[in-house]
């Protein structure tokens, strides 16, 4: 099952690479026998055309990644990976589209510099002007997305304008006289891909009206821990069916809070009727959640994520950093309730100090219920013992008669911690397929 899911999660990236390269292959076939790479001028011109074709295809496909469709999530091995791919595709599309006009005019440099300058500036040709407008708007939005430190709400609104940029870019692609005009197969492929991108973008716009979310209401708000809010939600109709370790998007209605969706991992067990979210105050939105009142309606969309401990069948090493404990809380609670364990599990709960380890007591209770040999909890405070490292983990596991090389490793925590540990594990000879992680940072 684990191997199957690993193979399945590679389908998405492979499909995207294939779809992005198809226009280049078509271009090579239809332009056979013509001047393509004969000299400097034709080579740079051809590269300009290819960068435009591949860039536009990636741009269109990146919209598919934002639809949160189950099939796409399966192909990538989790929604966090889908958004990671979306981010990468967007950046690649941007770089390719950015160099598209430069590569087309570079043949005029230096002998006909005036022609090159005129080509890059707006003219009486509207198809070319559409391209210039789309490129400049894309530059503005990408700079805002990557370099400006905007709030999640503002970032989301600004990102919606990418759809408009894509529509303007489509006008450029199909109105300007290029190979797409002369070769029907290339035209129909680009039309298909553009239609897919536009359909995906339209779907994300109309999704809120389609009522795909479930209605819950706040039943309890626990603010006893500093910087942490525990919100319990009870269903007002159908309840959410989810697996331990999954996350949902919530939208709070009828309060002063912003109305956009935010992702949070479920901390409670799937066998419980109510859903509990453990939210750390990290920004404007999360800091205001402690003011929520019982009875406030909440829309829940999901579940998402494929961080399911029952997928993997070897003994498991769980490593949680700070608020990254939430999926493991759900898994441990579910294991305690159902007794479903793939093998012995050791959880390293990493916090700065003991005061931050607010879920330790609950986890120790679960450990007592299941038995230390089946589920063991180890608290690791960085202020006392330094940062967790693979040598320490190896020694600890050897002390229990286990070897990390034979275990599945599940990580959840700050990105730097996960990245560092994953690299160290790989250096120790642990295969990538044995290391599983969930990334919180979807933005």
């Amino acid at each position: 099952m684990g191997a199957n899911s690993n193979i399945k999660s590679k389908v998405g990236p492979l499909l995207i690479i294939l779809l992005a390269l198809v226009p280049a292959v078509i271009w090579f076939i239809v332009r056979q026998g013509t001047d393509r790479f004969n000299d400097y001028a034709t080579t740079t011109h051809s590269l300009g055309q290819l960068s435009g074709l591949i860039g536009m295809t990636l741009f269109a496909l990146s919209f598919l990644m934002t639809t949160r469709m189950k099939i796409i999530e399966d192909w990538f091995g989790g929604l966090d990976k889908v958004y990671k791919a979306h981010h990468l595709m967007g950046v690649l599309a941007f770089v390719l589209v950015l160099f598209h006009p430069l590569l087309l005019v570079i043949k005029f440099v230096p002998s006909q510099l005036y022609l090159a300058a005129v080509y890059l500036l707006p003219s009486s040709s509207w198809p070319v002007n559409f391209g210039i407008v789309a490129l400049l708007s894309m530059i503005l939005l990408i700079v805002l997305t990557i370099f400006a430190h905007m709030t999640y709400q503002k970032w989301k609104v600004s990102h919606k304008f990418m759809g408009l940029v894509f529509i303007i870019a489509c006008f450029h692609v199909f109105l300007v006289t290029t190979d797409i005009t002369f070769y029907p197969i290339l035209k129909y492929y680009m039309l298909g891909i553009s239609f897919l991108g536009l359909a995906a973008f339209s779907y994300t716009l109309i999704k809120p009206v389609l009522h795909t979310s479930l209605l819950y209401e706040v039943s309890k708000v626990n603010t006893q821990y500093p910087q942490l809010t525990l919100i319990s939600l009870k269903p007002k109709g159908n309840s959410l069916q989810f697996k331990a370790g999954q996350f949902v998007f919530i939208k709070i209605r009828g309060s002063n809070l912003p109305k956009e969706q935010h992702p949070f991992t479920i901390a409670s067990s799937p066998s419980e009727k109510e859903i509990t979210l453990a939210i750390k105050s990290l920004g404007d939105y999360t800091s205001q959640l402690k003011n929520l009142q019982p009875g406030t309606p909440v829309e829940i969309e999901g579940p998402y994520g494929q961080f399911d401990y029952l997928t993997w069948k070897r003994p498991q090493l769980w490593i949680a950093g700070g608020i990254g404990i939430t999926p493991f809380l759900s898994m441990a609670s579910y294991a305690a309730g159902t007794g479903q364990l793939p093998g012995p599990i050791t959880l390293f709960y990493c916090t700065k100090n003991r005061e931050e380890s607010v879920f330790l007591q609950k986890l120790e209770q679960i450990s007592q219920k299941l038995g230390q040999e089946k589920f063991k909890v180890v608290l690791h405070c960085s202020q006392e013992n330094g940062y967790l490292n693979t040598e320490f983990l190896g020694q600890q596991m050897n002390g229990q008669g286990q070897h990390i090389q034979d275990m599945d490793i599940l990580l959840c925590g700050p990105p730097a911690m996960m990245e560092g540990l994953a690299k160290s594990f790989e250096k120790k000879g642990i295969k990538k397929g044995q290391i599983h992680y969930e990334e919180f940072n979807i933005k």
């Binding site: 981010h87 990468l88 950046v91 941007f94 770089v95 950015l98 160099f99 006009p101 430069l102 005019v105 440099v109 510099l113 005036y114 022609l115 090159a116 300058a117 005129v118 890059l120 500036l121 530059i139 990408i142 700079v143 990557i146 370099f147």
Partner: protein, 118 residues
């Protein structure tokens, strides 16, 4: 971090190249126009001065022009369609071999009073 770097470098290259191409392209384009106009002006001035200083050569030049026009007209009138084409092509060749702008300017900017005076 890697994507930030990639986007940052790409943007920097794009801005640097496009701004330079546009700026230098427009400046050079402007300079070329100015130079062309300068050349035209210089040639006109030179022609005018030479006419004033040496009216004889101006007459010769004028006569030569008139003769060429007459020959061209004669062959156009008397010749067949093929001859007509040949004569026309000769005239055209003469025009194209010379810098086109200069030729036009010399013909149109020639002061009519000087021609009449000669």
């Amino acid at each position: 971090m890697k994507t930030k770097l990639l986007v940052g470098i790409s943007l920097a290259v794009f801005v640097l190249l496009s701004v330079n191409i546009i700026a230098f392209g427009l400046i050079l384009g402007n300079n070329q126009n100015n130079q062309q106009q300068k050349i035209i002006l210089q040639q006109n001035t030179t022609a005018a001065i030479s006419r004033q200083q040496d009216p004889q050569s101006a007459v010769i030049l004028n006569n030569q022009t008139q003769a060429a026009t007459a020959t061209s007209t004669a062959s156009t009138n008397s010749g067949s369609s093929t001859n007509n084409g040949a004569a026309s092509s000769t005239t055209t060749q003469q025009n194209t071999m010379m810098p086109p702008v200069t030729t036009t300017q010399t013909q149109t900017k020639m002061p009519p009073r000087t021609t009449r005076a000669s």
